[in-house]
Symmetry: D2
Subunit: 500 residues, 4 copies
C-alpha cells in the first residue's frame, strides 16, 4: 500500500489505528533500508515476514513479473509451474549475464539487487568469521569442487605454461578431481605423521617446486578443514613459500569458515605470505541446501576475474538461500552458532573420551583439528571388520561417522591412493571420526554417544550372540541382512554415509 | 496414513466413506507408481497435490528428515531457515557424490531417487522433442556456458595435446567464453552471407582442420538456436567432417530443443556423421528459472564420463524444478507447447511483416531460422540511432528485442569481434530481432506489435517533435533521461535487455 | 522497500533498471489503491502476487505482528504454530468487537481494513449478480442456516410477542432447523403442484396469517434456490403480502445469487413489496470453502442491527477467502462465471434430456427452476430401488445427484415430513436431480452423462446379471459390498452424498 | 508412494538406502496411527512435515480432490482461488451436515475424520487442563459469545416457558449480549466487594431465583476468567443452588482453561453440584486465530444436542487450526505452556508490585484471580485522566492493558451499567489491569514494566513539561495529536485496545 492507499484507508478504519499500523510497518521498512545502506548482516535477525516482504518487493522489480510486460526474446523467465514459481519467490532470471556472473541484468533489477546484496553479506560473514582482511567474494552456484576448478581455470589465463598443481594429500575425492577436471596434473604431497596428527610436509613441497620449476606450477592448493587425524595445512608456511616463488596459493576452506582456527590460519597466511583465492561451501558453513560456495580472496581484482570467467548466467538459488539465512541469523545469531559449535566440539570430545575409555579405546590426539575427532577402533572382536561399526551406526540413525581401516586402496582420477581415507599411505590405526559441525545440538551428541556405546558393546563381547540377536531385532532395524559377508562388507562401506 | 490407520479411521467415519477416499488416494499412488516404473513423462500432467505428495514422500526418505536421526558429520543437510527448508521441500543433500554428479547418496535415498527420475524424464523429453536416438543425458545445475566448458574439459582427458576449438561465429558471449574458460583457443569461422541468411562456412572449417591438424583440435563446436539472420549451423556437414577427421563434435543446442528444425538437425547429424555431446538450457526450453542445463549425447558412456568429471555434489534445484515441470506438463502438455510455439512463430512473422510494410521496412528472409525473426531498421529518422528503438521498446515493457547496427566492435575473452552482435564482419543492415520462444502467448505478439508500431511511428515522422514529447511524457515512462547523447546511447545498448 | 531504500539500491544496480522496477511496482500499488478508493470489484482480476502483497501489507498493521510489541492482555492473537500463522497470513485477531461483528478493532487495523473492504466487495458482488438496490450487507462466518437464525433473533427484538415463522416447505433440514433453533414455531405451508412444478401456495400463506394474527408472526421465510421440481417461491406475491400485513420477509437465497432468475425475484419483491433480509452462502455462490454467508438487506440500518446482535468476535477466514476470491475474479471473471453457468445449465438439460429418452424416462418440466433439473426414474428394473441409482453414481465418482422416491418420512426438529426430500406430501414420481452450479465445467456434464448412462443401463436390462457383474468388477469400485440388502439400502441413502 | 513404487525405486537407488528411507517413513506413519487409535494428544508434538503429510492424506479423501470426480450438486467444494485452496489444504467441505455439526459427510471422508479427531483431542486437552470428568465436547466455529447463545437456544427446547438468565455481573459486552441475542432477559446480579476483590453475591442469586421462580429461569450463567479485581464466580455454590432448584448452570469459561484454579472450580462444581455446559475460547486458550470455541459438558447427551441444534454446515478452519496446534504441542508442550503461564503470572505480579511501589501505587489484592492483576492509579498528576495511561502505553506498543476509572456508564443491549468496566456500581479506585495469558513470555513482562515505568514517570512529575515533550517526540510515536482534549480523551478509551 502506498501513502495514498493508507490515506484512503482512514475512511474505513479510524486514522489513529491506521497510524499505529503504519508506524509498525515503517519499522520493518527501516530494517530493510539499513540492510541496503550498510550491506552488512543486521545485528538482530529478521523475522520471516520481513524477509518475505523484501523478497516480494524484489520480485516485482523483475521483468517477468511486470504486469503488462510482453516478452519477445528467447529467455523471458517464464515459469510454467506455479509450484516452481512459488519456491523461487517469482525470481526467474538467475544471476549474472553472459559476460560475468556478478553483473547486473537489465531485465532483472530485483534479482540483480538481491545478488549484489548477498555478495556483500557473504563478505561480511567471512569477516565476522575471522578473516578480517578479505577484499572480495561472491557466491557461485557450484559446490566447492567445481568452484576450485573455476579458480584454477582462471589462474591458467595468467600462467599459460603451468601444468601442475601441488597438493598436500587429503583423502576427499572432490578436491583431487577438481584439479584433474581443470586439466592439471596433481602433484600429491604425502603428509607427515607427528604423534597422532598428519600434517603438511613442507620440505616435500619445497623440493617439488624446485624440481618442477615455479613457472610450471599453476598453484599450491592447501586445505583447512579436514577429517582427523589430518590437521589443517600449514597455511602460513605455504603462504610464505608461494610468496617467495611467486606461485598462486589456492585454499580449499570447505567447512573451515565455522572454525576460528581455520579462519585465523587464512588471515595469517595472507598477512605474512600469499593467499590468492579461498573457497568455502555454503551448505557446510551456513546450513543451506547443497549447491553453492563462496569464492573469496584478498585481491578484489582477482576475485572479479574469476567471476568474469564464469561463462553465462547461473542459478540464483544458492544466493537466495544464503540471503535468507544470513538475514535470519543476524550477527548475533551467526556468532552464537559459531561459539555454540566450539563448545559442542569440546563436549563431543569429552563424551567420546569417556565412551572410548569404557570400551578400551582412546581418542586420537589431534588438537590442531578444530572440528573432527578420531577414536581408535583397536579392540573389536576379531570377527568384526571396523567398517561394520559405521554401518551399524547408520542403521541406528547416526549419520556422518566415518570409519577408516588400513588396507583399502582407491584409484581417483587415474591416481592410486594407498589406504585411501586415511590421508596417508602408512597410518597405523583403524579409527572412527565424528565432527562437531555448525548447527549440531547437544542432543545430537548425546544420541550419538548412547548409540555408539550400544554398538561397541555389541562388537566387543560375545560377538556371535549379539549379532544373532540383531538379525531378529526387527524393532531396531528393518534392513534386510545381506546374504554373504562380502556383499555386506561392501554395503557397509557405502552405508557409512560418508564419501572419502 | 498406512492401512492400519485407515482401518482405525473406520471407527470414526463409516467404512464406505473411508473406502471411497482410499480408492481416490490409490488412483494418485498409481500415477506415482507408473512414473517410477516407466520413467517417462506421464501422458497427462499431474496436479500440484500429487506432485507435493510425491515430493513429501521423497523428502522423508532423506536422513536430515529422519525423526531421531543424529548427525555427527560435517555435512548433515541441516537447514537453518524454515523459509529455505520449505522452498526445498526439505531436500537438503543436493545431488551427486564427490565422485560423480549422477551417483546416489547413502544419506539421501529420496534425493537420489528424484535425481535419477529427473534424468530419465529429461531423456524422454529430448526424445519427444525429436532426437529419438539420444542415448544418455543428465541435468547439471549450471547454465549452458559452464556446461559446455565441462564437456570440453571432459573431452580434454582423451585429447591431451589438443589446443583449439573450431567455432563458427555466433555473437553470444557465453559460448565463446566457455571455450576460453576451459583453457582452449577458439578458432573463429566467419559465417557466409547467403541472401539475408548467415550460414556455416564449411570450406573454411575444412581448411582450418587441415591447417591446424586434427589432433590439435579438441572439437568443433556448432550452434543450432541463434538470432536471425544467422541460421543453425550445417550440423550434418560438420558431423560428416568430424567423422572423417575423427574430431569430436560438440553442439550448443541452447534453446534448440523447442524447435523441431533444430532437433532434426541433431538427429540427422548423429545418424550420418558424428555428434558427441549436445547441451541445452533448462530455462529456455522448459520454462524453469535460470540455472540448469541438460548435457546429452549419443554414447551413454561418454555422457557418464562428463558426469564423473564434475567434482563434488551439486544443487538439486534445477533437477527439482525440471521434475515438477515435466510431470506437470505431461506428454500432452509438452507437445502442445511445442506446437503452439510453432504456430506463434508463424503468427509473429505475419504480424511483423505487416508492421514492417507500414513503416517502409522489410523482414529479413531467414526461413532456416525457426525461432528468431529479423526486420530491417533502414528508414528511421536520421537523428535516431537504430539501437534507440530497442531502448524505447524496453521502456514500454517490451523485453527481449535486440537491435543490431553495424559498426560496434567488441572484445570478448581477448578476441576482437567486428560488428559484434551481427555474427558477421560485414552484415549490411541495421535490424531488430524478435523471437517466438516456448511459452509465448498470442497476447505477447499483439502487445509487441502495437508497441513496436507506436515506437516506429515516433522514430520516423516529425522525429524532433516526438522526442521532445517523449521527454515530458511521464505517464509513459519514469526513466530519467540521460544527460548526454553518449551516455544515453550506451544505456540504450544495455537497456535492450539483451546480451550479445 | 521505501523510497530511501530504492534510492540506495541505485548504488548497486543502475538507476534506470531500478526505475523500471519501481514503475512496475507502482502499477501494482495503483491497483491496490483503486480497490481501497472505490471498494468495488476490480474490472480485471488481480494476480496472486498482488493479493499476497496486499495481505502482507495488511498483516503487518495488526498488533500481533508489530516488532517489539508486548502483549499483556488476555487476547493478543498469539499464534502457536507456524503452519497456522502462515495459513492465516499472520492475521489472528478475527473480525468484529464484542459489541458488533462489523466494528473495527484498535489492535488490528489491518484485519479491520480487510473486513471493511470485504463487506464492500460483497455488496458490489450482490449488485453485479442483479440485486441492484441492495443497501447493506456483511459477511458472517456462519453458514446459511445459522445466519438465518441470527436474522430471526434480531427480528425478535422488534416483535417481542411473535412466536411463528411462516415457511413454504422446502425439504432441506438446515433452514427448517434454523427456525426451531431460533426458538420459533415453524408454520409449514405445503406447496402446490402445477404441472411438474411445486410452487408457493399463496392462499395458504394468507390464510395462516389471518388465522395466527400478523403480530404473532415473526416473519415469512421464503426460499429462492432449491432442488427441482420445487421452484423458487413467489417472492413478489409474498413481498406484497408482507407489506400489506406489516410482517418481516426473510429470504433464504442460499445459492440463488448465481442465478439471475433468483436475483431478479429478490429485486422485484423488494421493489414492489417487502424484503427485509436475505441470506446467501459463500461457498455455494463464490467457490470458497464452507463456512460463511452474506447477510444482506434493503435497509442498511436493519442489516447493521443484525451485525450488532452478533455477540463477540468471529473468524476472519470466510472474509479473507471471499476477499481473495473476489479480487481474483474481478468483475469480468465473476460475470463470465455467471454466464458460463447459465449456458451449462442449458447444456446439462439437453444432455440429460437425450439420456432420459434413451432409457425411457423424461425430464421434469420445471422451467422456473434455473439451477436444478429433475429426471424421472420410472422404468427401473423392479428389483432396484430408485435410490440405488444415486449410490451407484457416487461409487462411480459422481457427486451431488439426489434421488427421491416417495414413501420416506422424516422427523426434523420434532416435525414429521411425509415424503421428505420431495418438498411435498404427494409428489407422484421417483426422480433424480442434478444441478448446474457455478464453477461446473462442460467436462463435469459429459462425465456425468456417460456414467449415468452406464448406471441406467445396468439398472434396466437383465438386472440380475448386471448386478452380479458389478460385484466382481473390482476395477470399477473397491467398495465392499454390504452383506444384506437392508444394510446396503441404508448405505445408499447415505451414500448419495446429499443431505435432505 | 505405495509398496510397489518403493520396490520399483530399488532399480534406481540401492535397496538398503531405500529401506532406511522406508523405515524413517514408517516412524512417521506410526505416529499418525497412534493418534487415530488413541485419539489423545501425542506425548511429543509432531513436526510440521508429519502434520502436512497427514493433512494431505486427509484432503485426498474428500470428493472435491478426487481425480476424475464430476460434481453435479449445488455444493461441490469447488475452490476458485489457488491461494484459498492452499490455505485450506484442499479441504473445502467444512464440517457437519445440515442436521448436526458433528455429523460426518459422505462426500468428505477426510474432513469428517479430521473433525472427529479434533473433537477428541479437544476433549483430551480439557482433561489435561484439569477438568477430568468432562464427558463431551466439540469445536464450534463461533467465538465464545455466539456459542453461549447457542447453548441457551438449546436449553430453551427443554424449558419452553423460561424467560430469564441469571447473570452475576461481568463487564464484558459479548457475554451480556449472548443472553439478549438468544432472546432472554438478563437478570444482573451485582458483585460483592470483599477487600479489593469483587465476588459472587450468592444471597442475591438465591433471592432472584425465589422471586422469579425456577421454571422461569433458563439458566444461571457464571464466569470463571475475568479481569481483576473481579474474581471467578463461586461455581461450587452456584452449582449447588442450581442442583437444588433444578436450574441449568452454564459457565462462561472464556480463557479459564489455561488456569488450573478455573478448571478446578469447574471440576468441583460439577462434582458436588451442577454444571450443564461450559464454553471456552479457542484463541485465548490455544493460541490460534480468533473464531472458534469448545462447547463442553458433563453429560455427553446434552452436548450432542447442542451440536444437533446448530443448523447446517460450518467452517472447518477453527477445527483445523486446533488440530494442528494440539498435535504440534503434544501433551508435553501443552503442559509446559500451562506451567510457564503460572510462573509468569507470579513474575508479572512481582514486577508490577515493584513498579507500583516506586510510583506510589499499590497492587489490588485479588489472589483469587489467577490471570489478571490490577494496580491502582491513584497518584497521577491532576491534569491526567487515568485512561490516558492506557493510551500512552498502546502508543508505546503495549497492548492489552485496561484502565478503568469510575464514572463511565454504558448501555449494553438496552441495559444501563454504572461504572461500566469495573464490574461494579461502586468500585472505589481507578486502576490498570494486565494479564498473564498463555503464550506470554518473560520478555513481554520486562518490556511492559519498562514502558509502564516510563509512562508513569511522565504522568506524575512535572506533568505539563513532559506532555509538551511528548508532543514533539516523533521518534517515539507518529500518532497525530488530537486537537481537543475531549477528542483525545475519547480516542484514549478506544485506543487502549481493550473492549469492555
Amino acid at each position: 500500500m502506498n501513502e495514498e492507499s493508507l490515506k484512503l484507508s482512514e475512511k474505513l478504519v479510524p486514522s489513529n489505528y491506521i497510524h499505529q499500523g503504519i508506524q509498525a510497518r515503517q519499522a520493518r521498512e527501516n530494517t530493510i533500508r539499513q540492510l541496503i545502506q550498510h550491506r552488512k548482516l543486521p545485528e538482530c535477525g529478521w523475522d520471516d515476514v520481513t524477509i518475505e516482504m523484501f523478497l516480494q518487493d524484489v520480485a516485482v522489480m523483475d521483468s517477468n513479473n511486470f504486469n503488462g510486460n510482453c516478452g519477445v526474446g528467447e529467455r523471458e523467465a517464464r515459469i510454467y509451474s506455479s509450484l516452481v514459481y512459488k519456491r523461487h519467490f517469482g525470481l526467474g532470471h538467475g544471476i549474472g549475464r553472459s559476460g560475468d556472473i556478478t553483473a547486473v541484468q537489465p531485465k532483472a533489477a530485483g534479482s540483480s539487487l538481491l545478488m549484489k546484496l548477498t555478495n556483500s553479506l557473504a563478505l561480511d560473514a567471512i569477516k565476522i568469521a575471522g578473516i578480517k582482511s578479505v577484499e572480495g567474494s561472491f557466491v557461485v552456484p557450484m559446490a566447492t569442487g567445481m568452484s576450485l576448478s573455476l579458480c584454477m581455470l582462471t589462474l591458467r589465463q595468467k600462467r599459460k605454461s603451468a601444468k601442475y598443481v601441488i597438493w598436500p594429500r587429503i583423502d576427499q575425492k572432490s578436491c583431487f578431481k577438481s584439479i584433474v577436471t581443470a586439466g592439471f596434473e596433481p602433484v600429491v604431497i604425502e603428509n607427515t605423521l607427528d604423534g597422532d596428527e598428519l600434517k603438511t610436509n613442507m620440505a616435500a613441497i619445497k623440493e617439488k617446486i624446485t624440481l618442477l620449476g615455479a613457472d610450471n606450477i599453476l598453484c599450491v592448493m592447501t586445505t583447512t578443514s579436514c577429517f582427523a587425524p589430518r590437521i589443517p595445512d600449514s597455511l602460513e608456511e605455504v603462504g610464505l613459500l608461494c610468496k617467495e616463488y611467486d606461485i598462486p596459493h589456492l585454499v580449499n576452506n570447505a567447512y573451515g569458515l565455522q572454525a576460528s582456527k581455520c579462519t585465523h590460519l587464512l588471515q595469517q597466511a595472507a598477512r605474512v605470505g600469499r593467499v590468492d583465492l579461498f573457497v568455502q561451501s555454503l551448505d557446510k558453513n551456513f546450513m543451506v541446501p547443497v549447491g553453492g560456495s563462496i569464492i573469496a580472496g584478498f585481491d578484489a581484482g582477482l576475485v572479479e576475474e574469476v567471476g568474469k570467467n564464469y561463462p553465462g548466467r547461473a542459478s540464483a538459488t544458492p544466493s537466495i538461500d544464503l540471503f535468507i539465512t544470513l538475514v535470519s541469523m543476524g550477527t548475533t545469531g551467526y556468532k552464537n552458532l559459531l561459539s555454540e559449535r566450539k563448545e559442542l566440539c569440546k563436549y563431543l570430545t569429552e563424551q567420546l573420551q569417556s565412551c572410548a575409555v569404557i570400551h578400551g579405546e582412546r581418542l586420537l590426539q589431534t588438537k590442531h583439528n578444530p572440528i573432527s575427532i578420531g577414536m581408535t577402533l583397536s579392540n573389536l572382536d576379531d570377527s568384526i571388520p571396523p567398517t561394520e561399526v559405521g554401518s551399524m551406526l547408520f542403521t541406528r540413525f547416526v549419520s556422518g561417522t566415518r570409519v577408516v581401516a588400513p588396507g583399502k586402496n582407491n584409484t581417483v582420477g587415474g591416481h592410486l591412493f594407498k589406504n585411501f581415507g586415511s590421508h596417508s599411505d602408512v597410518y597405523p590405526f583403524s579409527y572412527l571420526t565424528a565432527a562437531a559441525a555448525i548447527g549440531m545440538t547437544r542432543n545430537d551428541v548425546n544420541l550419538f554417544i548412547t548409540r555408539l556405546d550400544k554398538v561397541l558393546t555389541k562388537c566387543k563381547t560375545n560377538k556371535t550372540d549379539s549379532l544373532k540377536t540383531e538379525k531378529i531385532d526387527k524393532s531396531e532395524s528393518s534392513f534386510k541382512q545381506s546374504k554373504s559377508r562380502e556383499v555386506e562388507s561392501e554395503a557397509i562401506n557405502n552405508r557409512t554415509g560418508k564419501d572419502v
